[in-house]
């Protein structure tokens, strides 16, 4: 178990080095002089020269790269050009909202998806299965922005039940209340996907020889499905959830924009528009780090569900 986790942890290092290299080379991949592009046509040569120095463009790229890695290791992500504040602080300001939204959305999707998938698998080929399959396909193929708009139109505008914008002032309860709409919108696509995955994984497991054994020894069928089959079937779901959480951490842009919530995804997109290079780099780096962590967690939780890994 220890060896397994250490191996996974070691893999994080090359992954992050590759990410850092890509982010650093962004500056050189942009066509033209980054300083001119960032500052626009009305900037003076002095201002441009100043920015070039700040971005390290006046030195050879490898020196800049080593400096970049050094400062990252110190926890220094640079200074945002337009906000004139440390990137680290800017990112940390929005991070809690992103984490809350992602985990609430994914949590809903996992909970509902597994229940729908289990029901469909236990009543395979019945009308309930067909209905749930239909719902799964419908939700899986609904883009997040349509789901967001629908929720606002139905629950905020017509029924007046949910707030349509913002974070909610003060108090945890109020924040959670404001989180409902965005989280549900985010969860819809993944719910259908996880439901389909759960159903097929369960059906495959229920075909196994060991299920026959368990039946022939007279274990009750609810027990076979919810204890013996579910634990075996859950592995592919974990893999997908790991990837999904990682993706949502930097990618919940539509929901953040439509519900007017601050968040990492929205921050990255805005910084790209503003050509705030240090902020783009810092934001993407944090998103990548969270992505790697989410997958690391998924890998580690595998061990609980697969004894062969636990023994490694």
């Amino acid at each position: 178990m220890f060896v397994y986790i250490s191996k996974r942890l070691l893999w994080v290092i090359p992954t992050l080095l590759a990410v850092l290299f890509l982010l650093f080379s962004l500056t050189y991949l942009l066509p033209g002089d980054p300083a001119d592009i960032i500052l626009g046509p009305r900037a003076t040569e002095e201002m441009a020269q100043d920015l070039r120095e700040r971005l390290g463009l006046d030195r050879p790229w490898y020196e800049g790269y080593i400096d970049y890695i050094r400062s990252i290791l110190r926890g220094d992500l640079g200074v945002s050009i337009f906000r004139n504040r440390p990137v680290f602080n800017v990112v940390m300001e929005v991070l809690p909202y992103t984490l809350a939204l992602t985990f609430a959305g994914m949590g809903l999707a996992v909970f509902n998806g597994i229940i729908i998938g289990l029901l469909a698998a236990s009543y395979q080929d019945s009308w309930l299965d067909s209905l749930l399959t239909f719902i799964s396909f419908l939700t899986a193929s609904t883009p997040t922005y349509i789901a967001s708009v629908l929720i606002i139109v139905v629950f905020s505008v017509n029924l007046n039940l949910l707030p349509s914008i913002g974070l909610g002032e003060g108090g945890l309860l109020n924040s959670l209340y404001y989180l409902i709409g965005p989280a549900v919108a985010l969860s819809i696509g993944w719910t259908g996907y996880i439901a389909r995955l759960t159903r097929s994984s369960m059906l495959e497991t229920l075909e196994s020889d060991f299920i026959q054994t368990e039946k022939s020894f007279g274990l009750p069928s609810y027990y076979i499905i919810y204890k013996y089959a579910l634990k075996k079937a859950v592995k592919p779901i974990i893999a997908v959830v790991g990837l999904g959480i990682g993706r949502l951490l930097g990618g919940a842009v539509f929901v953040e924009v439509i519900f007017t919530r601050p968040g990492l995804g929205r921050l990255i997109v805005n910084s790209i528009y503003e050509r705030d290079l240090p902020l783009v780099r810092g934001g993407v780096l944090v998103a990548a780090l969270l992505f790697v962590l989410a997958n690391l967690l998924a890998d580690i939780s595998y061990a609980y569900f697969d004894p062969r890994i636990k023994q490694e």
Binding site: Q212, T213, E214, S216, F217, Y223, K232, D306, P307
Partner: protein
């Protein structure tokens, strides 16, 4: 008669795209208390279907249009799924399946799986932790060394033979009256097979359990069974005490099977039975074995022989051993010939 299990005129059919295929047809058999009964046949002869029908674990496409399965004087076919699960499966009748390699759940400890069988056998009345000692005892009895330690291990840490021992422990832990063993040693090495067979004999001696031993291997059957039934294309064609069957096989199919055993016939080359088992959707009229039979005569193609007692405890379904019917047929044939001659 002290029959533990008595099957009467059982037919099992599968729905297929081309109509019904009869996997088991009009089967009668009886297993007495403490008896090891061998059911022998080629692949597709319906022997596994018969085994599964006894505990009603047939796939959804299967139907039982006729027949009765009396187990301790209750007809299993008429019992509800609930009753069978609560009172029969894993309690009165246990089943060990063909391939031990995938027969245990890979994500649960062997001990957990063993204890669960006992837990439900006792209708959840005894706490699991109080059953652990019984489970460890059972593992020890099936020849697993260091059972306390192995109890906490997962199936992938067991070899094929060890897994089959665990499965036998799961089967015997509830002291069943009948064990259905469906080719339990087919997937194992010959040396391991011999060990498992020896273990099975020991367990039968200790618990007095009857066994329905399903296999294609006559060699294995000769070692452990008291009586044998030979199945061909869904029907029992011969049934006898094991010694009688080997000393004096009657049905041409049984004879042919024995010739296929290495070391049974003196010829150097191993015999085979030409042809194939008939398609179950489209069985030939008359005797099913007729197309592959060296002794086939006119009557065999017209009528199907029924299983009849040839002598005490030895039945066969073949016109060769049914003098009356054979003579009648010959007389009829002569009449036909005479008419044609005239």
């Amino acid at each position: 008669m002290n029959a533990l299990l008595s099957i009467e005129d059982l037919t099992v059919q599968y729905r297929t795209r081309n109509g019904y295929s009869l996997a088991v047809e009009d089967v009668n058999l009886e297993i007495k208390n403490g008896e090891i009964f061998g059911l022998v046949g080629e692949s597709g002869s319906g022997k596994s279907t018969l085994g599964k029908a006894i505990v009603k674990l047939l796939p959804v496409s299967a139907e039982i249009p006729a027949g009765k399965i009396f187990f301790k004087n209750r007809d299993i076919i008429t019992l509800s799924e609930q009753t069978i699960n609560n009172e029969i499966r894993g309690k009165e009748i246990s089943m060990v399946l063909q391939n031990p390699q995938n027969a245990l759940n890979p994500v649960f400890k062997v001990g957990t799986q063993l204890v669960d069988v006992l837990y439900f056998k006792n209708n959840k009345k005894i706490k699991r932790k109080n059953l652990k000692q019984d489970a460890i005892e059972m593992l020890k009895k099936t020849g697993i060394s260091d059972p306390e330690y192995r109890f906490e291990e997962y199936p992938h840490q067991f070899s094929g033979g060890m897994k089959q021992r665990v499965l036998l422990a799961m089967a015997f832990i509830s002291h069943p009256s009948l064990l259905i063993a469906d080719e339990p040693t087919t997937a194992l090495d010959v040396t391991i097979e011999a060990q498992i067979l020896a273990l099975l004999k020991d367990l039968v001696r200790e618990y007095g359990t009857s066994i329905l031993y399903i296999t294609h291997d006559l060699g294995v059957v000769s070692e452990i069974t008291d009586r044998i039934a030979v199945m061909y294309a869904g029907k029992i064609v011969e049934s006898a005490k094991t010694d009688d069957l080997f000393d004096e096989p009657l049905h041409p199919y049984t004879k042919a099977l024995l010739k296929c055993l290495p070391g049974y016939s003196s010829k150097e080359q191993l015999a085979t039975i030409p042809g194939q088992v008939p398609n179950l959707n489209n069985k030939p009229t008359g005797c099913n074995f007729c197309p592959r039979c060296d002794y086939c005569f006119a009557l065999c193609q017209k009528e199907e022989p029924r299983l009849r007692e040839y002598k005490a405890d030895h039945s066969v379904a073949c016109f060769l051993y049914n003098q009356e019917e054979k003579e009648e047929a010959e007389v009829e044939d002569e009449k036909v010939n005479e008419k044609e001659g005239a």
